[in-house]
């Protein structure tokens, strides 16, 4: 029989990077910026976090002396800082210099993926290990610390409470952003900027500031997703041919959803009107 009890936790665990990435991208897109550089941002954010924890963990002779709070805080701050820098770079190019967003995003992906792989490789060299992996067991275990009472809920606990804290952070961030975007004044203003920057500008909102803040925030959230991937062991099974076809499924589903929303053509399901277009005040 199909093993739901072990399937669901694995499905949730593997979907969290996507949740981080898409929450970040939604906030970014609502401001009218289409950031195709999210994979690059995730790589940079993740590797910055790992560099931070690597330096911290290796400054101790015995990793068990590490301060647990600092052990979590340092990678988090490094990760957020790294992805913030990527966000600032994207904003500088697309908002201040008003160059094409698709092209900038693709360049960010090239850069970010290279950056991540390069420093990942260099760290291995630094650590002088023979195996091609960096051992950050202590930090990794900190990130995997689960709720202390998860075990006492039986199957339910195993299925929904057995994750590291980043999983819950992702869910909380997604819920909070949904609330802010749809229910608050700031969210309304942000959506106005994305729909029609000229009108929002006339109403007195600072377009540049909204775009910068939303995009950078989005990048930082996406960066957390990168950090999460690196502390998660994704198991790989045997390579059956048919499995490759199953892997098509998520993308096919995305296409179907895309088509259905465009066929129904409901206003609230459409992407922002000015998505992907740079805003120049004198361009009316």
């Amino acid at each position: 029989m199909f093993d739901f009890v072990s399937f669901i936790p694995r499905a949730i665990a593997q979907s969290i990077p996507l949740l981080f990435g898409s929450t970040g991208e939604i906030i970014t897109e609502k401001s009218g910026n289409l950031n195709l550089g999210i994979p690059g941002v995730m790589y940079v954010g993740g590797i910055c976090g790992v560099i931070g924890s690597f330096l911290y963990e290796h400054s101790f002779e015995d990793p068990s002396q590490m301060n647990a709070a600092l052990g979590i805080l340092i990678p988090l701050v490094c990760c957020l800082a790294g992805s913030l820098l990527m966000g600032l770079l994207y904003c500088f190019l697309t908002v201040t210099l008003r160059v094409n967003q698709n092209v900038t995003g693709l360049a960010m992906t090239t850069f970010g993926v290279g950056f991540g792989n390069f420093f990942g490789g260099s760290l291995i060299k630094l650590a002088g290990a023979d195996v091609p992996s960096i051992s950050l067991s202590t930090t990794s275990s900190l990130f995997r610390t689960t709720l202390p009472f998860a075990g006492s809920f039986g199957v339910f606990g195993q299925m929904f409470l057995s994750f590291g804290f980043l999983v819950y952070v992702a869910i909380v961030i997604a819920l909070v952003s949904s609330h802010v975007l749809t229910k608050t004044r700031i969210g309304l203003q942000l959506r106005a900027v994305g729909e029609d920057p000229a009108t929002a500008d006339a109403a007195g909102f600072d377009i540049t500031r909204y775009k910068y803040v939303a995009t950078c925030l989005g990048c930082m959230i996406a960066g957390l997703g990168g950090l999460y991937i690196l502390y998660l062991f994704i198991c790989t099974g045997t390579d059956l041919a048919i499995k490759k076809l199953y892997k098509m499924l998520p993308y096919v589903v995305t296409i179907v959803v895309l088509v259905i929303t465009s066929v129904r053509n409901k206003r609230e399901n459409q992407p922002p009107e000015s998505l992907g277009l740079p805003y120049f005040r004198e361009d009316r």
Binding site: V103, T110, V113, K244, S262
Partner: protein, 362 residues
């Protein structure tokens, strides 16, 4: 105060100078970063950079071949972009062309004469690429479905399809690779001109470049594409059938991508891998955009990108750096080139506060 104003149009020479300057700046930054990370003499870094691209006859041929394939993909994407249809599916369309070619070579390899086989490969690869481009175009034309995401998803679907067939056809079983197809018979291998393995590809792409230039600049189709790109409302007003133009252009775009897949599998690699397109579908976006969709300028921009890539990868090989170092350098160079577009489109000037007040009074 800093003021920004849009320029009318910049003379070609001046815009080239700005782009050149940005490349030089980018190279300086790359040199500095390489020196910091590796402690090498910056002059050595640049020498290695150039020798990576032009070091030997073989390297020059590889450079030309890489330019040809990248140019072919960029040429395919250009008409779609000119129409403001963001075809990010070049990767998938190339893969489908490659898959169709490999399928012909494997399944028909020893059953039909070689000339017929190559004809089949050409037809099927073009059809496969065109179909992959047609699907998003149909939905875009009918329901205005977001083509950026649709084409992006089609890449992954194509990659998984290729991965599936690689396992179906793998040689030897269990290796997860196809290996060289028809190594002994060379059935379906595109003919070599003289001793030059890459010459045929280069000539074919050169022909496509000229044809595409003529198509975009001097034909009715090309004109319709640019009108739809500027404004769909205007296009509708003057009686252009917008959905028809979208579908026709994407068929062409996908077909040329499929042809690039043929050149890769039939012409040079003689094997199939999910990485065979090597992100050219995305790099091609940048090539086409940097050249402002002019096929002849695209030769220059694809040369620039391939040159950077070859040089950067030579540095990482020679100094035993991680191969990803090349990606970092390419990324930095791209940021500079992209950023320089701002100074070509806009004019920045400084005014003093008092002048502004005076202007306001007038």
């Amino acid at each position: 105060m800093i003021h920004i104003a849009k320029r009318k149009e910049m003379p070609l020479l001046q815009s080239m100078a700005i782009r050149g300057l940005s490349v030089v700046l980018a190279l300086v930054i790359c040199g500095v970063i390489t020196t910091i990370l590796t402690g090498l003499n910056p002059i050595d870094v640049y020498v290695t950079f150039f020798s990576g691209a032009f070091g030997s006859a073989r390297k020059i041929w590889i450079l030309l071949q890489e330019i040809a394939i990248l140019l072919c993909v960029s040429l395919a994407l250009a008409p779609a972009f000119k129409m403001k249809f963001w075809n990010l599916g070049g990767e998938g369309q190339v893969l489908m062309g490659a898959l169709a070619t490999a399928a012909c070579m494997i399944l028909l390899g020893d059953k039909i004469p070689n000339a017929l086989l190559i004809a089949c490969m050409v037809v099927y690869s073009i059809v496969a690429g065109a179909v992959w481009g047609l699907i998003p175009a149909l939905f875009k034309a009918k329901w205005n479905t977001n083509e950026t995401l649709f084409t992006l998803m089609m890449n992954y679907v194509a990659a998984q399809l290729v991965a599936y067939f690689i396992i179906v056809w793998e040689v030897p079983k269990g290796s997860g690779k196809i290996g060289i197809i028809n190594q002994s018979t060379e059935a379906g291998w595109l003919p070599q001109i003289g001793d030059y393995k890459y010459l045929l590809n280069i000539i074919l792409v050169a022909i496509i470049t000229v044809l595409m230039y003529v198509y975009l600049k001097y034909t009715k189709h090309g004109y319709e594409i640019s009108v739809v790109g500027e404004s769909t409302n205007t296009a509708r007003y003057v009686g252009i059938d917008v959905p028809k133009v979208i579908i026709r252009t994407m068929l062409l775009s996908g077909a040329i991508c499929g042809f690039a897949g043929l050149l890769l599998v039939g012409g040079t690699d003689h094997t199939l891998a999910t990485t065979i397109a090597n992100s050219r579908g995305f790099t091609g976006v940048m090539v086409a955009w940097l050249a402002k969709f002019n096929p002849f300028s695209m030769i220059a921009s694809s040369f620039l990108l391939v040159f950077m890539e070859r040089g950067a990868s030579e540095i990482s090989t020679i100094y035993a750096l991680n191969q990803s170092f090349a990606d970092i350098l390419t990324g930095i160079i791209l940021f500079f080139i992209i950023g320089s577009e701002f100074f070509i489109t806009y004019r920045v000037y400084f005014t003093k506060k008092s002048e502004e007040v005076e202007k306001a009074d007038v």
